[in-house]
Amino acid sequence: MTAETVVFVIFALAALAGALTMVTARNPVYSAMGLLTTMFSIAVFFVLNDAHFVAAVHVLIYAGAVMTLFLFVIMLIGVDKAEDIRESIPFQRPMAVVLGAGLFVLVLVAGRASWVTGTRAVEEGGALGTIENVADELFGVWLLPFEATVLLLTIAAVGTIALAQFLDKPRELAAAREAEIAPGHEDEERAE
Amino acid sequence: MEFPALALLVLLPAGGAGIVALIPERRRDLILPVTVGLTMLPLAVALWILWEFEVGNGAFQLTERVLWFEPLGISWNVGVDGISLLLVVLTAVLFPISILASTSITKNVKMYMVSMLILETGLLGVFVALDLLLFFVFFEVTLIPMYLLIGIWGSENRVYAAVKFVLYTALGSALMLAAIIWLAVVAGPQLGGTTFDFTRLLDAELSSGAQLWLFLAFGAAFAIKVPLFPFHTWLPDAHTEAPTAGSVLLAGVLLKLGTYGFVRFNLTLFPDASVRLAPWIAAIAVVGIVYGAVVAIVQPDVKRLVAYSSVSHLGFIVLGTFALTTQGIQGGVIQMVNHGLTTGGLFLLVGMIYDRRHTREIADYGGLARVMPLYAGFFLFTAFASAGLPGLNGFIGEFKVLLGSYLSLPVHAVVAAFGVVLAAVYLLWAYERVFTGPVTKEENEKLVDLNAREISILVPIAALIVFLGVYPRPALDRIEPSVDVILERIEAQTDYDVPRFGTTAEIDLAAEGD
């Protein structure tokens, strides 16, 4: 039972616990916290797999930026929106469970078949995930996709700002329409 | 031929459409004359091609071939031969006439003229295209303007008719597209690489099963276009709703796409299937002849009557085509031109009284012969031409088809001959209800006879009807070689031998008919 296995088991359990709390928590904040624990354990696994740079980036972006954004929005929307238990869509629950379990079993079975995971490479030594290697790859072969991501991010930013504008627009539109439907115009509105 | 006559012919109308689009809105009155002038150009080119066409030779002439898309072997490959020559000239002649006849169009005239010119490009393109995909493109190009013509400038429930027309034809052409692609992709390799070139695809050997399915796919598109019996219900609706010019072109040229397609593609590309299916399709055609005529008799609306008469006349063409005899196919091809003239003329005439009385119901008329003698004369003349009176053009095609198809399909020919009687019945009964007898309704009293413009439209058509009726030799001489080429090909490819005559007595007659 090497140290690595011990760490793996601990953090695996942490990840699973976090995931479960996220799904089952009544209050969105608790599920956010659950997700956070899962993310940290995943970062640890990255480190275990010599992907140091990626782990750092993961923690920085995911755990940092994304989760905080989530928390911010949860606060904005109001934390106390407790959901009622009753499931409105028929068969939703059983379907979810059956499909989830089915998928899990299948993936494990697929894992068995060698043609799925490919053959093991020769043991190559730890220093795989360093910044230098990642940088060479990223700005070498993968330069074009990298540029694409730049484009993607700008679009996302523009989108979000537009949506933000949209937020105010409906209110103005709604207000304008009330003003216009003064008593005199009732029939013309309906006729048109 | 270094001078690209056919390219010019096909693209001139499109260019014209551009020019018409540029006419400023305030010079609306200019639109019609300019468009008529523009359609004169392709007419001039068509006549030049007619002049240039070498009579005795059956192969494709004035061919042009410009590679368009190398990997798939698609090319601007055009050429004209005996069969398509007259149809091209017919299209070029009918357009100026039908535009001159559409003075009653007031709603956005410019768009009307633009779609007419695009329609002309499509029609001319279809008849000269030798590349299957090019043929398909032009086949579809004709659809859109026709949809606009019916949908926008039609009468009461024009939208229903337009949508029905487009969906019906599109269904057919979709099947054809599948067949074209299959042909190019599968038959292509036999000839070195996928190719859509019709002339090269002719040498591909197709198994008889494949030929059957391809024949049916192409046949479906053309059967809907012709229209053959079960697929004809779009025609009366399209005709009753279309504006005059639309009806003239729809009946005059658009229907010929189907029959032309049968002769050009089905007979040549799939000879074995053609020989096997000929009696069946001829039977459907004959049903169409009798059914069309019978139904035409009691039509209350004169345009529907003429539409059903078209179903009957085109049945003759298809019967001639699938009789697979030299006289039969020649009769079919010449009848395409004749039908274009006679039915085009009838629709022009119907349009003229529609402009005056705004009704197509036969019951609303009566005793017009006294009020409009000249108009009655023209109507009777065109009606008799359409009923196949000797001395006028309708007779040539029908007589040749009947005699030609008797050689190979006697029973079909006899039943089809009865169509000639029915033709007389429905035309004369309509003439009687509309023109003879006392003037019953007082609105008919003050109808004014044809004016100069209308006469200038009808006279060229009447002249052509008489010319083709009395001296059809030049036209027939141009068609004959190309028909012989097709029949020789069929005889070579299959064990079918074309019945000349003397079917029963097996003696060979030294005195070959001229």
């Binding site: 697929a110 | 004809h232 006294r370 000797p390």
Partner: protein
């Protein structure tokens, strides 16, 4: 004979000029122009047939241009005794009728157009008669149908005239349908439609079966055009047209086209004795049948119409019994006296300002002497009283039919009976119109017709009287059997029936004269001595309505036809075929409506869908055992 084309070109040119400038040329001008053109054509034909008359001429083909190359149809004309005789009759009688029409159509608003159609008719009849091939014959055949349609419905404001015109054209078209199929069979068998080739090769190529089929189909065509049973119904209605039309088309020329066609295709009929027999039988039966109806008619023109059908029956009997010369001879004499009768009737109607019912005439003897005199000649001629033309031609047909023996003797008996009936109804007509007290309506003042109308009457009267000597059976030196020599070259290829010995001939002549005299005597006794018998009641009404055959056709054919096309048009087409098309549309919309609930807007049910898809994908991946 290069100028043969001129014979057709003149009336055609007349038709075209009158069509374009008819109104401007106006009242008498149009008439004179038309008649002079037809007269000129007659003169040319006369000059052309001079060498036939002297017996030295030979058949000549004047070729024009190739009309339809594929079918080997040449627009060529055949100039032989038969066609020259027909041309002479058509143009001769035609010219006289044109002159008559100038007077008759006086004051008609569409005067010019009438003569356009008349000239067009003459031109088409000449095409029919002079054609060298079945193709040209067919052109003439249909064009003649067209001009008869135009002329019958000339006064198209009268709905009955328009309907009669349409009826004539359609019934003719039904006949042409049979003729067309015959052409198809001929073309399929022989490969060409020109007379020469067809008649030469017919014997070798055609089996008797096909020959019978062709000839029977030709008979259908002939019956349609010459108004024989069962396609005769259009002729009585065709009386709606002006009287010159009835005289020209429905007595002298067009209706004889069928007889000419049977005579021309004698070679084919020779191959099929059965159909020759049928032709003769159809002729005889129609003759008797029409004669009975003629007795009961009240309208003067309808009596003559049925009489024409009956006389045509005689001609069919003649050509059917291979007595082509006799048939043609009767055709010529009939053209003379029947045209005369019609024109006479026309002048009576003209005088009675439009009245056609014999019951409202009477006592016109003294008031219309010329018309009366000429009609008496025609009356005696048609009844077969020697020495007038009718006697000789009818007697020759009966003699030849009798001589053929067997079944033809029965036909001879029918012929004799019809001869008696003919004499009777003609006497009835003459007595009712000219003898007895005037039974005119008020305001009717009959007077003799102007000279321009009576002149042709006199000319035709002379022809009817003298016509018989064209072909007297008794060989009185050079004079006798003139027509037989004249027509000899045309029929040498065909084996003809010949006249019986002189003895039997005399006997038969006596029998037919006796029948005629009996008819006249009975008519005289019935309509002159005693006062007018009221011809109402059962038998007379059915006779008047032509045994109601017309309404029978109407109920049996036209009505169901209309029902069928209505059913086809409104139920079959609208509901079934169109229904199917719209049905497909409706089906698609219903299918769409059925699928719509799947998109219920709940994101989470979409989620389930996606996951199910993923699971299915993995299962398929595993099941397929992996691609590598």
């Amino acid at each position: 004979m290069g100028y043969l084309w001129l014979v057709i070109a003149l009336p055609l040119a007349g038709a075209v000029t009158l069509l374009l400038f008819g109104k401007r040329i106006g009242e008498p001008g149009a008439g004179t122009l038309a008649s002079s053109l037809v007269g000129a054509a007659f003169l040319i034909a006369l000059v052309g047939s001079y060498d036939f008359i002297t017996g030295s001429g030979h058949a000549e083909v004047v070729s024009g241009f190739a009309w339809i190359p594929g079918l080997g149809i040449e627009l060529a004309l055949l100039w032989d005794p038969l066609s020259s005789m027909m041309t002479l009759v058509v143009t001769g009688v035609g010219a006289l009728i044109h002159v008559y029409a100038i007077g008759y159509m006086h004051g008609d608003p569409r005067y010019g157009r009438f003569f356009t159609y008349l000239n067009l008719f003459i031109a088409s009849m000449l095409i029919l008669v002079l054609g060298e091939s079945f193709g040209v014959l067919f052109i003439g055949w249909e064009l003649v149908g067209l001009s008869s349609y135009l002329l019958i419905s000339f006064w198209f404001e009268k709905p009955s005239a328009a309907a009669a015109g349409k009826k004539a054209f359609v019934v003719n078209r039904i006949g042409d349908f049979g003729f067309l199929i015959a052409l198809m069979v001929i073309f399929a068998e022989v490969g060409s439609l020109s007379y020469g080739t067809v008649f030469e090769e017919a014997a070798e190529v055609m089996t008797t079966g096909t020959a019978t089929l062709v000839t029977l189909l030709l008979l259908v065509g002939a019956a349609g055009k010459s108004a024989q049973l069962p396609l005769y119904v259009w002729l009585p209605d065709a009386m709606e047209g002006p009287t010159p039309v009835s005289a020209l088309i429905h007595a002298a020329t067009m209706v004889t086209a069928g007889v000419y066609m049977v005579a021309r295709t004698g070679a084919l009929f020779e191959l099929a004795p059965f159909s020759a027999g049928t032709v003769a039988t159809v002729g005889a039966v129609t003759a008797l049948y029409a004669a009975t109806i003629a007795i009961g008619q009240r309208d003067i023109k309808r009596v003559l119409a049925y009489s024409t059908i009956s006389q045509l029956g005689y001609m069919f009997m003649g050509v059917g019994a291979a007595a082509y010369v006799a048939g043609m001879f009767h055709l010529v004499t009939h053209a003379f006296f029947k045209a005369l009768l019609f024109l006479g009737a026309g002048s009576v109607i003209h005088a009675m300002s439009g009245e056609q019912d014999m019951w409202k005439m009477g006592g016109l003897r003294r008031l219309m002497p010329t018309t009366f005199a000429t009609m008496v000649i025609a009356w005696l001629a048609i009844s077969g009283i020697p020495p007038l033309s009718g006697f000789f031609s009818k007697d020759e047909i009966l003699a030849v039919t009798f001589d053929k023996g067997g079944w033809f003797v029965v036909l001879w008996v029918v012929g004799i009976a019809t001869a008696a009936l003919t004499a009777f109804y003609m006497t009835r007509l003459m007595l009712l119109t000219f003898w007895g007290e005037p039974r005119w309506d008020e305001g009717v003042a009959p007077h003799e017709s102007p000279r321009v109308m009576t002149a042709p009457l006199i000319a035709l009267g002379a022809l009817a009287a003298v016509g018989g000597f064209l072909n007297t059976p008794f060989r009185l030196g050079r004079l006798g059997a003139g027509l037989e020599h004249f027509l000899e070259p045309a029929f040498e290829a065909v084996e003809q029936a010949h006249l019986p010995a002189a003895g039997t001939q005399w006997l038969l002549a006596l029998v037919s004269v006796a029948a005629a005299v009996a008819g006249i005597w009975y008519g005289w006794r019935r309509y002159v001595e005693r006062e007018l018998p009221a011809e109402e009641g059962g038998v007379w009404d059915s006779l008047l309505a032509g045994y109601r055959v017309d309404d029978l056709y109407g109920r049996a054919l036209v009505l169901p036809g209309k029902k069928l096309s209505e059913a086809a048009a409104f139920t079959a087409d609208m509901k079934v075929v169109d229904g199917a098309v719209n049905g497909v549309g409706a089906l698609v919309t219903r299918l769409a409506a059925w699928l719509r609930p799947i998109q219920n807007g709940l994101a989470r049910s979409y989620g389930v869908g996606i996951l199910a898809g993923a699971v299915a994908l993995v299962v398929w991946l595993l099941a397929s055992g992996g691609g590598s």
